[in-house]
């Protein structure tokens, strides 16, 4: 099954905690110009750690 990570960009405060907590590389990146996090869903394993650490509840992981 495919994993979906939804980013509610207006909630993201740019703390990058999700980026630093993801056990898989090059999945999450912080877009400086847009001031929010982006996800490469093809590489995500759906562990849900990013959603757990996000202080703004900006991430939702589903479909693992």
């Amino acid at each position: 099954m495919y994993v979906t990570v939804k980013v509610e960009v207006e909630k993201c405060n740019g703390c990058k905690l999700c980026v630093l907590s993801c056990p898989d590389p090059n999945v999450l990146a912080y877009k400086q110009e847009e001031k929010h996090v982006v996800v490469n869903e093809h590489r995500c394993k759906g562990c849900g750690l990013c959603a757990t650490v996000c202080p703004e509840e900006a991430l939702t992981v589903s479909g693992n």
Binding site: S21, D24, R43, L49, V61
Partner: protein
């Protein structure tokens, strides 16, 4: 490796794999990047087969992002979950027989110093707790007694994960595991204390729940092992698969263990290592950023 070596030769741009081009153009080689910059550059590691939510995978990713000199680093690994990840790593690495990692690293470091006397070549051991504290303890401690200039990093996932869940010297007392149903009868081995007594100039315990601090610790350990003496870093990264935790909770579990005082963040720096680190601009700069 010379910094020019990884650059693509003129005329070959078209035929190089996209991943390689991406690494050369956007990767950390030759740049002073660290854990805080993650998410802004192409990482030294590709997709890997470790379990979803693996704390060991997170620790490895953070270690690779904090190498002070990735293009001139050689990592010596050992059998275990981490060895499944190394084929995807763009840093020179050697897979050694289970438990032999510090002996292999010793030979390698000595050979590199003879072959490249004017160059900094960092040799790093990264191995599981079974490989470090159980089967490899002899080689690990003898390398410290001899004051070999290598950094030893233990990925303390508190279990022999790759072989299905036997207890290791680092499993907590009472732990019931897939292949240790009666519960462990002894406490965790105090390897940081042993490392200090055995001659390590820098010893630290840390977890990936403190990513920036982990990066700082790894960097300091590698720098100390360049000039002063052996260094040891123990990374607390319990295995969610064997402890049967939901993958999303692993960092919370680490924090809980820290609150309970079962896992403590500690750092020991010998006076000589302290003076050496204080004189290094690269450390000062990174410490200020954290």
């Amino acid at each position: 490796m010379s910094k020019g070596l990884f650059k693509i030769s003129p005329g070959f741009e078209d035929v190089m794999p996209a991943e390689y081009k991406e690494l050369v153009n956007n990767g950390p080689y030759g740049k002073d990047l660290g854990v805080s910059d993650l998410g802004t550059f192409k990482e030294l590691i590709e997709e890997h087969p470790l379990c979803a939510g693996c704390a060991e995978a997170l620790a490895l990713r953070l270690i690779l992002a904090s190498l002070p000199n990735s293009e001139d680093t050689v990592i010596v690994g050992s059998t275990g979950c981490s060895s499944l990840l190394f084929p995807q790593v763009a840093v020179q690495n050697i897979h050694s027989l289970f438990g032999n990692q510090n002996a292999v690293a010793t030979g390698l470091k000595r050979a590199l110093r003879l072959r490249f006397p004017d160059k900094v070549k960092d040799v790093l051991v990264i191995a599981g707790d079974g490989a470090t504290v159980d089967i490899g303890l002899d080689m690990v401690m003898q390398s410290w007694f001899r004051r070999e200039l290598i950094t030893t990093i233990m990925l303390d996932n508190e279990v022999y994960a790759n072989t299905g869940g036997q207890e290791s010297g680092m499993s907590p007392q009472g732990a019931v595991l897939h292949m240790a149903p009666l519960g462990k009868k002894f406490p965790k081995v105090n390897l940081p204390e042993i490392a200090r007594e055995a001659g390590c100039a820098y010893v630290a315990t840390i977890s990936p729940a403190l990513p920036r601090r982990l990066g700082k610790v790894v960097r300091r350990a590698i720098l100390v092992a360049r000039e002063i003496g052996p260094s040891y870093v123990q990374i607390f990264c319990p295995c969610p698969t064997n402890f049967k935790w939901p993958s999303a909770q692993v960092l919370q579990k680490i924090r809980d263990r820290q609150k309970e005082g079962i896992f403590k963040v500690r750092e020991y720096v010998s006076p000589e290592a302290e003076a050496y680190l204080a004189g290094l601009e690269v450390v000062k700069q990174h410490d200020e950023e954290q």
